[in-house]
Symmetry: C2
Subunit: 283 residues, 2 copies
């Protein structure tokens, strides 16, 4: 287990000196099968795999769950042994943010709507820590889950616009048997909340069917369907139901060839997000 | 001559594949002996040397001299042949800033006073383009002139805080025979302005003498001396005379062990800057 950036650089140089391609999976720990699927994909395309576990304070708002966020390092390390024992980087906060730290990376455009509106400092925190981790690790390829789709857009935009020499790979959402997208925050849910949470993924399945089978193209009809499905769960408070272009995240009025549907809702004190990318044929 | 980032990456990979260390000198062209001294230093410590020539629009304010800034590519290329013909990267603006470009790097602290106050968007533009050039070029070492001392502080802070894997080397100010710090903007000066401009470096020599020989430690006495020297030039308008800690750029009241004196003044429509770092003995 590596805990300092200096050690990490040493490890990274060793890999590159022996012509090894580094695959990198940044995480905040509390690992689940979603994370493990990223590591498995990394194992397939890279020679050396690095997982970082760092609950990054700068991507949490002041009233958010930084202190409550689940931390389970021993379980995480045990789980990582089941997927080929990647190298693990576990810095503490002062290793990542030394006294006087004062640089930030701001991504415009794709970071502004949806999560960006509700969590105004979130994506600057994400972009900054991801860039630091990319540069400290010498990553060649980095693996992200589609679950945090807007985050993927922000990271991709940063990589493109800053010429960061890292290839970004996006892996499918991993779901519980009933369809709930896996998330470390699912641990927060009480039993009744957990059973209501399934409406999110169910609403996306309904939307996908409307678009692919019934050929509905009007986003307001699709949005209404999603809303009424989510509203069958009495405690679910919708933050947004966005139907957008997956490249620009601009909201659509008519379903495109490629469309992403992003939903976010609160239940109790927990926020849940989910999404689906739908590709229509040109009919 | 390389003009695209794709070609630049290819060149960079070739150098690294043959174990060559890349030295990088970012410039805005209009090269003079100051730039050439950076290239010579790079030749000494690196296997491959890259010079970029790019007048970066994002570091100019709306009322600044972006359009007037001297451009002399043929002369520049000829001059570079006299210092070992380094590789040259000359992108155009759309190669560096593609349509929809929307990411910026902000450095706090050291970017705020002095130039940062007068040119509020300048250092974000500098930090962003320098990071892009570092990442696109795969530079191992980068060479900057002490002439733009606050810029050096901003770049160093960015490199440290973002874990950028580049070593920053700062080279001494190169001066005209009469002491004027070399600058591409000296070309703007009329003959009478040029002869007045010498008071800047002369004022710094006086200040250095006061501190080292007369052991003056009160910054107000030193500042007064500098001001009265500069004011002997009738057309010189002082922007600031800052006496600061060279690491933090915090202004001092008493001369430190290490002190930087930064001055900026306008003459006609031209702004000139100069500085000196003074290290006192502990007496």
């Amino acid at each position: 287990m590596i805990t300092t950036i200096e050690e990490l650089r040493r490890w990274s140089r060793q890999q590159h000196n022996s012509q090894k391609r580094i695959g990198f999976v940044p995480t905040m720990g509390a690992l689940h099968d979603g994370h493990l699927s990223l590591v498995k994909t990394a194992n397939q395309c890279c020679d050396s795999v690095l997982v970082s576990i760092f609950v990054n304070p700068t991507q949490f708002g002041v009233n958010e769950d930084f202190h409550q966020y689940p931390r389970s390092l021993e379980d995480d390390l045990r789980l990582l042994q089941t997927v080929g024992s990647p190298e693990v980087f576990v810095p503490n906060v002062t290793e990542m943010y030394q006294t006087g730290f004062d640089v930030s990376v701001h991504v415009g455009g794709v970071s502004q709507p949806f999560e960006g509106k509700i969590r105004p400092t979130h994506f600057d925190g994400v972009a900054t820590v991801v860039l630091k981790l990319f540069l400290a690790s010498g990553a060649d390829v980095a693996f992200f889950g589609q679950k945090d789709f807007q985050q993927v857009c922000v990271v991709r935009k940063m990589v493109t616009d800053l010429n960061v020499p890292v290839e970004v790979v996006v892996c499918p959402i991993i779901r519980e048997p009933d369809g709930l997208a896996m998330s470390s925050r699912n641990k927060y849910l009480s039993k009744p909340q957990r059973s209501q949470a399934v409406v999110l993924s169910q609403s996306l399945i309904l939307a996908e069917k409307m678009i692919l089978d019934e050929k509905i193209r009007d986003v307001e009809i699709v949005r209404k369907k999603i809303r009424s499905k989510i509203e069958t769960a009495p405690d679910m408070k919708i933050d947004y139901i966005a139907i957008a272009d997956p490249k620009t995240l601009h909201e659509l009025t008519i379903i495109n060839f490629d469309t992403v549907i992003l939903i976010a809702a609160g239940i109790g004190t927990t926020r849940l997000i989910d999404n689906v990318i739908i590709t229509t044929t040109m009919s």
